[in-house]
Amino acid sequence: MMKNANRSSAMLHLVARRAATALPSLLGVIIVAFALTRALPSDPAAYFAGPAASQQAIEEIRSRLGLDRSLPMQFFAFLGELGQGSFGQSLTTGQPVLEDLVRRLPASLELTLFGLLLSVAIALPLGVLAATHPNSAIDHACRVISTAGVSLPVFFTGLLLVYVFYYLLGWAPAPLGRLDSFSTPPPHLTGFFTIDSVVRGDYQLLATTLAHLALPAMTLGIFALAPLARMTRASMLGVLSSDFIRTARASGLSRRTILLVYAFHNAMLPVLTTMGMVFSFLLGANRRGGAGVLLAGDRLLRVGGLNSLRLCTRPGFCPDARRPVCHAQPVY
């Protein structure tokens, strides 16, 4: 009992220490985000005031927004707002940023999850096959596919898929949103249209949602293929050459058991780590960032008027209808 308590407190201590090392970076992120928003050439006051506003009205709004104060003062005001969980208002929608984020996040999450699922379904078998047949045709194929996947600009993959599946084959619906213009979204429960429509038992809506999800999810999936397939291959190769696999072989276990039960389970650990990274990459945030950066980044974009771009992983969110493609951001 005593021992357990000690252990959990030691664990807590460790977690706290780890979290504390992120603090300087977090501060750095806030400073950079602040500096970038202030360096942007656009004038939020003039934007909020509208094109017909007089100079006096603009000045009034400026002082209401606190933009007439000195930069250090503005920075502390910004810190205070962040501390209270307020992220200001979006330039494009006029809504509080937090509200926009909460409203849009499920869409991004849903898309990212489907993309990841798709790439896992392809990457894991591919990686395992490549590892069990090194330097074979399938190994080379794995290398080509994964390198090609990471070389394709995401915006270009999206375009290609739209051309093939919408224009040529006519399989995919018009790439203009999460749903057809004539279907109504399901009542808001989770914000995941797939889950919400299943809960309501509306399978036609589910089909529409999935059809609209397919191309963007494929676009992201193709990009995520490379790191997952490579990591699976490398990790499987490492495990397959280890002693316990040799022992398992010597004990006469079947190839299937060795591969699936012994090797695969042990090889999955680094792959899972990679998956976590890829997921956050796909969401558009770096793995270190977490939620705080997501929001700080959004504020950065908000003042730049670029707000829509960031969460515009789904075509329907793009105000710029000239580009009916999903442009999820390329990841590094």
Binding site: S25, V29, T147, P153, F156, L160, N286, G297, Q329, Y332
Partner: protein, 280 residues
Amino acid sequence: METLAHLRYLLAENPLTLAAAVLALLLLVGAILGPSLAPYDPLATNTSRALEPPSWGHWFGTDQVGRDIFSRLIVATRLDMVISVAAVSLSFALGSCLGACAGYFGGWLDRLGSRLMDTIMAFPLFVLAMGIVAALGNTVQNIVYATAIINLPFYARLARAEINLRREAGFVEAARLSGNSDARILAVHLFPTVLPTMMVQISLNLGWSILNAASLSFIGLGVRPPTPEWGIMVADGASYIISGEWWVALFPGAALMAAVFCFNLLGDGLRDLIDPRQRT
């Protein structure tokens, strides 16, 4: 000599690397000779021949204002290559210096540098690049700076880790005992040992940088139309793909992909050459 033999062995083992090398050479030729290879003026419009599909006269067809896509593609090679090479050289020079000093001297320099790199890495890198270009202004120079900044941590961390590892190595101790200054040890004895690993990073990074620059142009930040640039050309073609004019977006997109693909393969090939165990 041995390296050459090893290189030949690797190329024979892995025909993909050979293909990548040939492709890289082609890109280089396109970048150097670009404008003199193009059959048409990349900016000359001809609205009576707009959106023509590929033909003998126009190999890759024409765009919405009748410009020859093949010529624009070739001329754009130089701009894209210059942006990525400049950005990668900048981040290599700065990042490796910073990382090498941090790794060698340690102390507050190391802590400060590492936190700084963590801060950069904490941003979604493309979003950071967008912010930088939007804040500094829409010029080619600023794309180079933004791309250099987001690539900086990779070099700094690599140099720091490698130098830190060898700081107390025998040959460094020997150099120190024979009276070399710290600066000389760093520059002459330690830095060259990091270069092979750096080369791999540089090759991979060239591909990323091209992708980054093109993505910035695609969303309307960076290079401005009508300058021929691959990302802009894909953006131009994006609206026509729905109506079936595939060639406007396909060829520049394919060029972009080929360039990135070739640098990625080259990077992998180099890694095999330097450290076969790391192959994934």
